[in-house]
């Protein structure tokens, strides 16, 4: 989940982006981990996350391998979140994405009570994450800061493309596809929500925030 660390954007562009993920330490407390990871996601679903994912099998939004031409008019864009939960059958990392800190906070309170015993991390603005923890009665244990991108920055695309593409830290949402979606939204060929969903299907961990993506695409559409 280093793939969540370097999401690009100014602080005000990250205020609707909270990823919380769970994993067990391999060889130490991973016995019985799948059931605990399922419990984690079930608690997350109570707070209506915008996406959930299993790093081995994907998130809510998934590509289909057997489309027919008719499917274009009524495409199924993904799976039921419960299917993501049921699909956890191995020690992996699972994540939930929230666009509202209040929902995250409620989830944290449930997690504290559930006492699953596996490691749980929030990837977000560090001050916001700390404040959410404090309100839920949790003192953070460790922290990793993103110091951003270095080197030949001329190789990077523009701000909005980067804000979209870095929401999959594995790089599965390419800069060119993000740019194409911005162009399509500007041309009125797709609306921001549809374009965000196309991109989310490329993220194999289910950490792509479709709410934030739709907002960025709408801003790009009107040129702000």
């Amino acid at each position: 989940m280093t793939n969540t660390l370097h999401r690009f954007g100014a602080p005000e562009s990250l205020r609707d982006d909270y990823i919380i993920f769970a994993m067990a330490a391999r060889g130490i407390n991973d016995e019985g981990a799948p059931a605990k990871l399922q419990a984690f996601l079930r608690l997350a679903l109570k707070q209506h996350p915008v996406n959930v994912g299993n790093a081995l099998k994907g998130g809510i939004f998934r590509p289909s391998k057997k489309l027919t031409p008719l499917a274009h008019w009524r495409r199924q864009e993904g799976v039921d979140p419960a299917e993501v939960v049921e699909g956890i059958d191995a020690c992996t990392a699972v994540a939930a994405v929230f666009d509202d800190p209040k929902r995250l906070e409620a989830f944290l309170a449930d997690l504290r009570q559930a006492d699953l015993g596996i490691s749980i991390n929030i990837s977000a603005l560090t001050d916001e994450a700390r404040a959410c923890c404090q309100r839920a009665g949790i003192t953070r244990h460790s922290v990793e800061y993103s110091l951003g991108f270095h080197g030949d920055l001329n190789r990077l695309p523009d701000r909005q493309v980067l804000e979209l593409s870095t929401m999959c830290g594995h790089g599965m949402v390419s800069h060119n596809f993000a740019k194409k979606m911005i162009d399509w939204v500007k041309e009125g060929r797709r609306d921001p929500r549809q374009a965000a969903t196309y991109m989310a299907k490329f993220c194999t961990c289910g950490i792509f925030n479709t709410t934030r993506a739709a907002r960025i695409l709408e801003e790009a559409r009107i040129g702000t």
Partner: protein
């Protein structure tokens, strides 16, 4: 990755999905083609696109007719209409491209999916990074630029003489032939991957030294370098790393917070 030349209808949908921009239409045959030097075998095009299984001849005929009439149609942008993308059987050393670039392929050296280790994410259980220490994740190729191992080696060789400890369970470390010099295996230097993470640990007092070297080497590489640095917090949730980084002139506001809810299983006593 290969594209089945009989199935491909040159719809171009796969072209923007490639993180490396390695797919293009070969105008001599009017088919999509992969530049294998630049392809990192991440399988993004193959796995991320939905697939139809239409008859290529029929699709080509329809497309050709519409093109003749200058009619632009509006296909779904994430669909390969004929299932033409075909992953290759890979051999060493090219197979290393997929190991580092495809997040669904477990890396043999770590046994986990992805490019790094558990890092600070399970620090509440493993105690890998303690108070007074800093863990670095130095990532090459991200976001969406890619990196050749020969560039990674320039950084590993610059960092090796410093008072640091490379993380031995890290996939890049498994390719270092001599930790004292930071040299990598020669047979992988001309391989390109989507990204790779080097992990190391040092004491807080040496953090500025490590950052200085990374900042000096990064602009000389044909890629982008992303830096993450972690530490353990005290009983109040504070840490000494944050003010240190601010003194060094870094602006940062985003990161990962380990909540400390993990624990080791209780040892049963007889």
């Amino acid at each position: 990755m290969e594209i089945d030349q009989w199935k491909c209808v040159a719809c171009s949908n796969c072209i923007p999905t490639c993180p490396m921009g390695a797919i293009y239409i070969d105008t001599t045959v009017n088919r999509a083609t992969v530049n294998l030097d630049e392809c990192v075998e991440c399988c993004t095009c193959y796995r991320g696109m939905s697939k139809e299984h239409l008859n290529p001849t029929v699709v080509r005929t329809i497309r050709g007719f519409l093109k003749l009439l200058r009619i632009r149609f509006d296909p779904e942008p994430d669909v390969c209409p004929t299932d033409a993308l075909t992953p290759q059987e890979l051999t060493w050393p090219r197979i290393i491209r997929r190991a580092f670039s495809d997040p669904l392929v477990p890396h043999e050296s770590t046994g986990i999916h992805g490019r790094g280790t558990e890092e600070v994410k399970t620090n509440d259980v493993t105690g890998r990074v303690n108070e007074g220490e800093a863990g670095f994740t130095i990532e090459f190729g991200r976001p969406g630029v890619g990196v050749w191992f020969r560039d990674i080696q320039r950084m590993t060789m610059a960092l090796a003489p410093l008072p640091i400890a490379f993380e031995s369970k890290n996939p890049v470390y498994s390719l270092i032939t001599d930790p004292k010099t930071g040299a990598l295996r020669e047979d992988i230097l001309d391989e390109k991957v989507l990204s790779a993470i080097l992990e190391l640990k040092t004491t807080l007092e040496h953090v500025p030294q490590v950052l200085q070297v990374v900042e000096e080497v990064a602009p000389t590489l044909d890629t982008i370098v992303s830096i993450g640095v972690s530490t353990r917090c005290d009983a109040r949730g504070d840490n000494q790393l944050e003010p240190l980084l601010k003194r060094e002139g870094y602006t940062f506001y985003r990161g990962k917070t380990n909540l400390g809810l993990g624990r080791r299983p209780a040892v049963a006593h007889a």
